[in-house]
C-alpha cells in the first residue's frame, strides 16, 4: 500500500506554472502575494515574473509564477493554470495556455460563450463573484475582493494548504480589524469550496520541505544586503526599476537608524552620497540608466576625491526614457563611462541571494579601495519575486580598509590625504579628527589635496604630480585583481561540453533552465557567468574562454554589451550571440529555440 502511494507520488507532476492577468488595479499583485506566500511558507520554491506597464491604472498586467520543490530558474512559457480578471484578458492569454490546462475567470466581466469559443482543449471555470457573495449573505463586499476568491480557487486546484493562506490573510488584514479578516476568510472559502465541487481535480502534487522560505524581490534583497553590509546613508530620486530599494530602506530608517533621503534629482543623489561617504559613513545611491547619466560626473568626483560610494544601476530599456518597466542589459558602457580615466569597480548579481551578498560586498570594495562601485541589476532581477532558502548574515564581514579616526598630534606632521603609497590606497583619516584637517578635491592635486590644476598647471612640479597621482589612482585597478577582489567568470557544468553559454546578471537563471531542457534531450552544455564586470582579470579569463569549444553569449540587448566588454578587457571576441530586446525576459525554451535556429553571426561585434 505504502509502496503504491510512493509510486503514485513519483508519477504525479510536482511543479506547475500559474498565470494571473487583469487590469492594473485589479489586485493581480495581491493574488500573486497570497499564492507566493502560501507556497513559500509551505517550503515550496517559486519564481514570479511581473509583466506590467508604466501606468497606475488601466494598463493590462500579468504575473506568471513557476512553483516547485526545487529552486526555480524560469517562469516558463505556457501556463497550466490561469486566472483571468477582466474582459481584455481572454484574447491575450487563452492562446498561451498549455493544452489540457485550467482557466478560472471572473464571470462578472468575462462572458462564458466568448471565452469558451477561444479553445476547446482547455477547461474553463467562471466564478460568479456577486452571485456567490450575495447568496452567502456577505455584506460590505467590494468588487476587488474577487482576488481573494480566485486565490481560494487556486489554493484548492493546486492542492495547497488553505490553513497557510488563511494565516497569511489574517496577518495581512489584521490591522484593518477582525471584520475585514473574517470577510476575506469567507470569500476565500467560497472560492475554495466552489472549486472543490465544480472542477476536475488536477494530477498534481506540490510538496514543499516545510521550511518557510523568504519571498522577496531583487530590490528587497539589494536593500537588505546593503543594510547587512553596514549601509547608513542612502539618497535617491525615484526611478523605475530602482525605486523599490528606496521603498524598502525607507521602512527601516527609524528602526535601524539610517539616513534615507529622497532628494530633488539624481545630480543631488550621487553628490549627497559622496558628501556622506567622505564624512565617513557607508553611503549609496540607486537609479536606472537615465538617472545614472545624470550621476556620471558625481561618480567621477568620487573617483578623483577617492571617496567610497556605491551606486546601484538598475537597467531598463533605453535609450532616453526608453521602456521603463521592461528588461534590457545594455548599460555596461554607461557604467564604464565618464570623463577621463578613473578607477572603479562594477559587479552584477545573478539572482536574489546574490543581490544580497553582492550588495554587501560592494560596500566593502568601495571602502577598501576608496573608489566608486557600481552594482548593476536589471528590471527583471530587481522587480521579480521569488523564494530564497536563507540569507546568511554571518558571511558578511565589514572591512573598512585604511580608514582611521586617529592622528598623532605630537608629530606635528601635516596629513597627506593622497599620500603616494605602493598599493595606490592612501590612509584615510575621517573628518572631525583633531589635527588632520585636509581637503578632498575634484581637481587634480598633490598629496596634500592642494590643487595642481589652476596657477600651477603645466609647471614641471604640477606635471610630475599629475603623472604620479593619476598613476596612483589607476594602480587600484591592478590591486583589485592582485588581491583577488576582482574575479574571473565562473565556468559551471561539464568542461568538455561542445557549447558554452556566456552570461551576466539575471540571464544566468534562464541559461540554467535552458541547460536543463537541453540535458533532457541529451545535449550537454556548460555555462560561463561573469559577476565582476570591471576590472576583469585578463589572463585567468582568457584561459577560461580558450578552454571552451563554442561560445554563445546570451544577453537581453541587441549589441552584446558583455561581449564588447570582454573584447575590450581581454582582446577575446565572442562571435555567436543569442539576443532578446523586446523587453521580456528570456525563458529556457526561448534560448533552446534560438540555439536550434543556429545563432551564428546574428549580431557581430563590430568594434
Amino acid at each position: 500500500m505504502e509502496a503504491q502511494a510512493c509510486l503514485e507520488h513519483i508519477k504525479m507532476k510536482n511543479n506547475v506554472i500559474v498565470r494571473i492577468a487583469g487590469a492594473a488595479g485589479d489586485g493581480i499583485q495581491s493574488t500573486g502575494e497570497l499564492l507566493g506566500k502560501t507556497c513559500s511558507r509551505m517550503g515550496l520554491h517559486v519564481l514570479a515574473y511581473n509583466s506590467f506597464q508604466s501606468a497606475i491604472r488601466g494598463g493590462h498586467v500579468w504575473l506568471q509564477m513557476a512553483i516547485g520543490p526545487d529552486k526555480q530558474y524560469d517562469h516558463g512559457e505556457e501556463p497550466e493554470v490561469v486566472l483571468l480578471f477582466n474582459k481584455t484578458s481572454p484574447a491575450v492569454h487563452v492562446p498561451d495556455v498549455k493544452s489540457g490546462g485550467t482557466v478560472f475567470y471572473n464571470a462578472g466581466t468575462i462572458k462564458k460563450e466568448e471565452i469558451e469559443s477561444l479553445r476547446s482543449d482547455v477547461n474553463f471555470y467562471g466564478l460568479d463573484f456577486k452571485g456567490m457573495t450575495d447568496a452567502a449573505g456577505l455584506k460590505d463586499v467590494s468588487t476587488v475582493m474577487i482576488n481573494v476568491m480566485l486565490a481560494g480557487a487556486l489554493v484548492q486546484t493546486l492542492h495547497l494548504d488553505p490553513k497557510v493562506t488563511l494565516e497569511f490573510i489574517k496577518h495581512k488584514f489584521q490591522k484593518k480589524g477582525d471584520q475585514i479578516v473574517d470577510l476575506n476568510n469567507a470569500i476565500f472559502d467560497l472560492g475554495f469550496e466552489w472549486t472543490k465541487t465544480n472542477t476536475k481535480p488536477l494530477e498534481l502534487k506540490l510538496k514543499g520541505d516545510n521550511k518557510p522560505k523568504l519571498f522577496m524581490s531583487g530590490n528587497d534583497a539589494i536593500g537588505m544586503g546593503l543594510v547587512a553590509g553596514g549601509l547608513k546613508f542612502y539618497a535617491a530620486y525615484p526611478m523605475s526599476p530602482a525605486t523599490g530599494i528606496l521603498h524598502y530602506l525607507s521602512t527601516l530608517a527609524h528602526s535601524d537608524k539610517l539616513i534615507i533621503k529622497q532628494v530633488e534629482d539624481e545630480l543631488a543623489a550621487i553628490n549627497w552620497a559622496v558628501g556622506a561617504g567622505h564624512a565617513g559613513v557607508r553611503a549609496a545611491t540607486g537609479t536606472a540608466g537615465g538617472g545614472f547619466c545624470l550621476m556620471v560626473e558625481g561618480v567621477g568626483l568620487a573617483a578623483m576625491a577617492e571617496v567610497p560610494v556605491v551606486t546601484v544601476l538598475v537597467q531598463r530599456g533605453g535609450p532616453s526614457t526608453g521602456v521603463p518597466t521592461k528588461i534590457e542589459q545594455a548599460d555596461i558602457s554607461l557604467a564604464m563611462g565618464g570623463n577621463g580615466e578613473f578607477p572603479r569597480f562594477i559587479l552584477a548579481p545573478k539572482d536574489l541571494e546574490d543581490c544580497f551578498y553582492q550588495a554587501a560586498r560592494a560596500l566593502n570594495i568601495a571602502e577598501k579601495y576608496q573608489v566608486p562601485v557600481i552594482l548593476m541589476s536589471d528590471f527583471f532581477l530587481s522587480e521579480h519575486f521569488g523564494t530564497v532558502d536563507d540569507l546568511d548574515f554571518s558571511k558578511i564581514k565589514i572591512e573598512r580598509g585604511k580608514l582611521t579616526t586617529e592622528w598623532n598630534l605630537e608629530n606635528n606632521e601635516k596629513y597627506k590625504r593622497y599620500a603616494y603609497t605602493e598599493d595606490g590606497v592612501s590612509p584615510r583619516v575621517r573628518p572631525g579628527t583633531p589635527g588632520a584637517m585636509h581637503l578632498v578635491v575634484s581637481d587634480e592635486h598633490n598629496e596634500y589635496g592642494h590643487l595642481m590644476s589652476d596657477v600651477d598647471a603645466g609647471l614641471p612640479h604640477a606635471r610630475e604630480a599629475r603623472i604620479k597621482m593619476h598613476a596612483k589612482r589607476m594602480r587600484k585597478v591592478e590591486l583589485m585583481i592582485e588581491n583577488g577582489d576582482a574575479n574571473p567568470p565562473i565556468l559551471e557544468g561539464d568542461i568538455n561540453a561542445k557549447t558554452t553559454f556566456v552570461t551576466w546578471g539575471s540571464t544566468y537563471a534562464y541559461v540554467k533552465s535552458a541547460m536543463m531542457l537541453l540535458e533532457k534531450e541529451g545535449v550537454k552544455t556548460n555555462h560561463l557567468h561573469f559577476t565582476d564586470i570591471y576590472p576583469i582579470p585578463r589572463e585567468k579569463t582568457l584561459a577560461l574562454l580558450k578552454k571552451c569549444n563554442r561560445l554563445i553569449s546570451v544577453e537581453a540587448n541587441m549589441c552584446n554589451s558583455l561581449c564588447r566588454q570582454i573584447l575590450t578587457e581581454t582582446g577575446f571576441e565572442i562571435r555567436e550571440h543569442i539576443n532578446r530586446w523586446d523587453g521580456e525576459p528570456f525563458t529556457g525554451e526561448y534560448i533552446v529555440k534560438e540555439l536550434k535556429k543556429n545563432a551564428k553571426n546574428k549580431q557581430l561585434v563590430n568594434v
Binding site: D256, I259, W272, A283, L439
Partner: protein
C-alpha cells in the same frame, strides 16, 4: 563630540591665524573673495570652533577655491554641487559645523535647483554665495545676477535677461535665515556670518564680492556708495512681509541697497525630524546588524 542638536555653547575665542591655510589664494589682487575668506576665518575664531570641527564645502569657480585657503576640513566638489555634498556630509556628521561656499554661477545658475530645496529642507548649515554678477573663472560671461543690458563676452550686445533676485527667491522657498552683506563692510560681514553659523537651520548669506577683472558695473565703489545696514534702521527680522518689501528693491544702484539680516525664523531644523537617528552622529554608529536583528529582517519576508 556630543550631539549639538539641543544646544550650542559659547566657547572661548581662538586666534584667527590658526585658520590660515597652507596655500595662498590665487584670486586677483583686490578680489572681494579675500574679504570673505578673512571674515569667515574671523567668525570661526570668534565663535571658538576648533578647526577640526568645521567642514567648508564648495562647488567650482573662483570663489569655490576658498576651502583650499582655510585650515579646516573641506571638500572642493563639482560645479553647482556644493549643497548636495554639504547636506550629505552634515547629516552624516551633524556635530561638525558645515559651511557651503561658492559663487553666483555655481549657486544661482547650475546649482539653483539644489539651492531651493536646501532652503525648504532647512538642514543646519550655512551657505555663503560670493555674488559678483559675472562668471570670472571662465573669463567673463553673463551670470544669473548680471544686470539687464550688461555687456559681457557672451552678451556683447547687452544682457537680454532680467537678473534673478536671490533674496526673494530664498524668502519664497521657505528659508529660515536670509541675509545679504557686502565685503566692503567687514565688521558687518563677520557679525552676520557668526549669527548665520549659530542659527539652527539653513542660513543663507548673499555676499556682494566684487570682481575687479570682469565686472566694471558692480564694483566695490558701486556698493560702497549705496549700501546701508537695514538692521540699524529697526527692520523686524521676524516679519516676512517686511523682508519681502525690502528685498523687492532691485540692487541696481538707483536707490540705496539694503544689507544685513532680512529674515530669521526659529522653525525647527531638519535634524529635529530625525532626532532618534541623530542622537549620536551617524559616523559613530556601530556598523552591521546583530544576529537577532537579521532574523527580524528576514522574518518580514517569510
Amino acid at each position: 563630540m556630543t550631539s549639538n542638536l539641543t544646544e550650542r555653547k559659547d566657547r572661548p575665542a581662538l586666534d584667527p591665524k590658526e585658520f590660515k591655510g597652507d596655500v595662498h589664494p590665487d584670486w586677483c589682487p583686490g578680489c572681494g573673495d579675500f574679504g570673505v575668506l578673512s571674515c569667515l576665518q574671523r567668525a570661526f575664531a570668534e565663535l571658538g570652533i576648533p578647526q577640526h570641527e568645521i567642514a567648508v564645502i564648495s562647488g567650482i569657480g573662483c570663489s569655490s577655491n576658498l576651502p583650499g585657503f582655510i585650515n579646516t576640513y573641506g571638500m572642493h566638489t563639482l560645479h553647482g554641487r556644493s549643497l548636495p555634498n554639504a547636506q550629505g556630509f552634515k547629516l552624516s556628521h551633524h556635530d561638525m559645523t558645515v559651511v557651503a561656499v561658492g559663487g553666483d554661477g555655481d549657486g544661482y545658475g547650475i546649482g539653483v535647483g539644489h539651492f531651493i530645496h536646501a532652503l525648504r529642507r532647512n538642514i543646519d548649515l550655512t551657505y555663503i554665495v560670493m555674488n559678483n554678477s559675472i562668471y570670472g573663472l571662465t573669463t567673463g560671461q553673463t551670470s544669473p545676477t548680471s544686470p539687464l543690458g550688461m555687456k559681457t563676452k557672451s552678451t556683447p550686445f547687452g544682457n537680454p535677461e532680467a537678473p534673478l533676485n536671490p533674496i526673494t527667491l530664498a524668502l519664497g522657498s521657505g528659508a529660515s535665515f536670509v541675509s545679504r552683506v557686502f565685503t566692503g563692510n567687514p565688521k558687518q560681514v563677520i557679525e552676520v556670518y557668526k549669527t548665520a553659523i549659530k542659527h539652527k537651520g539653513f542660513a543663507f548669506i548673499d555676499t556682494f564680492s566684487p570682481c575687479v577683472t570682469f565686472n566694471k558695473i558692480n564694483t566695490a565703489k558701486f556698493y560702497k556708495d549705496s549700501a546701508y545696514d537695514l538692521n540699524a534702521k529697526g527692520h523686524d527680522t521676524s516679519n516676512m512681509e517686511a523682508a519681502f518689501a525690502v528685498a523687492m528693491k532691485i540692487p541696481d544702484g538707483t536707490e540705496p541697497i539694503a544689507t544685513g539680516i532680512f529674515y530669521q525664523s526659529e522653525r525647527p531644523c531638519y535634524e529635529e525630524s530625525e532626532k532618534d537617528t541623530l542622537l549620536v552622529p551617524v559616523v559613530n554608529h556601530k556598523l552591521g546588524i546583530t544576529t537577532e536583528r537579521a532574523e527580524q529582517l528576514k522574518a518580514r519576508f517569510k
